[in-house]
Subunit: 216 residues, 2 copies
DNA sequence: TGTACATCAGTGAACGCGCGTTCACTGATGTAC
DNA sequence: TGTACATCAGTGAACGCGCGTTCACTGATGTAC
């Protein structure tokens, strides 16, 4: 049975080791930055020989780039769903903040990794994150453009607005993270961050609706 | 002549060495992050023995905290001056962006350091930066509060707005930086960043003026 | 002003340690017939 | 199904290297009288 329906025991095991390296690295990166993490630290955490690392990645930068994909893929998909909704501005804002909130709760290490390495010491990783956020902004821009409020907006201004929103989402995620590792279960501060995030998005939304009154 | 008018040769020399360590570290941090930089790297760059480091700082984290003060002090002062201006919204936005622009041109390494270590791997430095930005937001909030547009605004909402502005300034500085080390003299892209920054601040300003139409 | 003693910024040798990378290897999985 | 050979993920020893930190030191600066 050498069908290609099963990937093969060997390849499956290789994937498992690769994923173990990614998971271990993500864990270690909660406490340090990519450029200070050691290759041997990662392999030690997984329980393989240091040299096994080279069967999967050329160096830690390459592993970092893989983590960028993993980190942003799921958030990307979820936010896209919210963008596609036919809903009022208020409702869309509430959903967006709720989605970000859930994402931070479920994937705190991924969020921390992105926040930390977005301006971190490894060029390849910075570029990968910038690329992803750029694609993200492009999608947001496309979604904003088809909304009735955007009639009369230049592409440049829609793009400007999209970047404003994307930056806000990243800052909001980062604010949730700060709260979550500040104290254990301070749901008071957590809800305050959500409230502030909603108001900030709302203020931007108000600015958007009255943009042409002001500019023209 | 043991007047206290002169600091003393010994103390003056100590200050000079300390500053040399800070300068060398800031230079090295253009290419890497604080947690991956070595103590010996810094002393080597200055031209002193590794052990001399301990006469000035307990460890690299303490040096990092000193760099935070140095990095934010001048920007802080300049932006404060803009905030104090009695001017129209448009004019204040233009000045603010111009000030940030100049700051990035004159102190690129300081800006990079703050952007990188804001979410970096050294807790003490993260906290120092968060503390400074918090004080910054408090000042911005105070300045916003006395403006006529803020009549009827709760303190919480003024604070929310202030944080929105401060985050914007940091993101703008970071965007200027990305352009400046992307290419050598691409003044086209540089001006595009300034344009986008002004428009984003303007949009927030519009939102602010119409906030109460929308919320109440 | 001169002398005797105290301070302390910077030195240089020494330490043990973990790092990234190389290399030839092993043995289970895969493939051809 | 069985056999003979190829592939290749993971191994383990070995390497040279730069790291952070300790310690007793030196010699210029500071201070007391």
């Amino acid at each position: 049975m050498s069908h290609s329906e099963t990937v093969g025991v060997r390849q499956a095991q290789k994937q498992r080791t690769r994923q173990a390296l990614l998971d271990a690295a993500l864990g270690l990166l909660e406490e340090q930055s990519l450029s200070s993490m050691g290759l041997r630290e990662v392999t030690r955490a997984v329980g393989v020989a240091p040299t096994a690392f080279y069967r999967h990645f050329r160096d830690l930068g390459e592993l970092g780039v893989a983590l960028v994909q993993e980190s942003l893929a799921s958030l990307h998909a979820t936010v896209r769903a919210v963008l596609a909704e036919q809903a009022g501005a208020e409702e869309r804002i509430d959903h967006t903040v709720a989605v970000v909130e859930r994402y931070v709760r479920e994937h705190p290490a991924h969020v921390r990794f992105i926040a930390r390495e977005r301006h971190g010491g490894v060029r390849a990783v910075r570029q990968a994150i910038a690329g992803e956020l750029d694609r993200f902004a492009t999608e947001v821009a496309a979604a904003l453009k088809v909304q009735p409020v955007s009639v009369g907006w230049s592409d440049e201004d829609v793009r400007m607005l999209a970047e404003l929103y994307v930056d806000r989402l990243v800052m909001t995620a980062s604010a949730f993270l700060d709260v979550s590792d500040g104290e254990g279960e301070d749901s008071e501060r957590w809800r305050a961050v959500a409230r502030t995030a909603r108001r900030q998005l709302r203020l931007i939304s108000v600015g958007r609706r009255h943009w042409h009154d002001a500019v023209s």
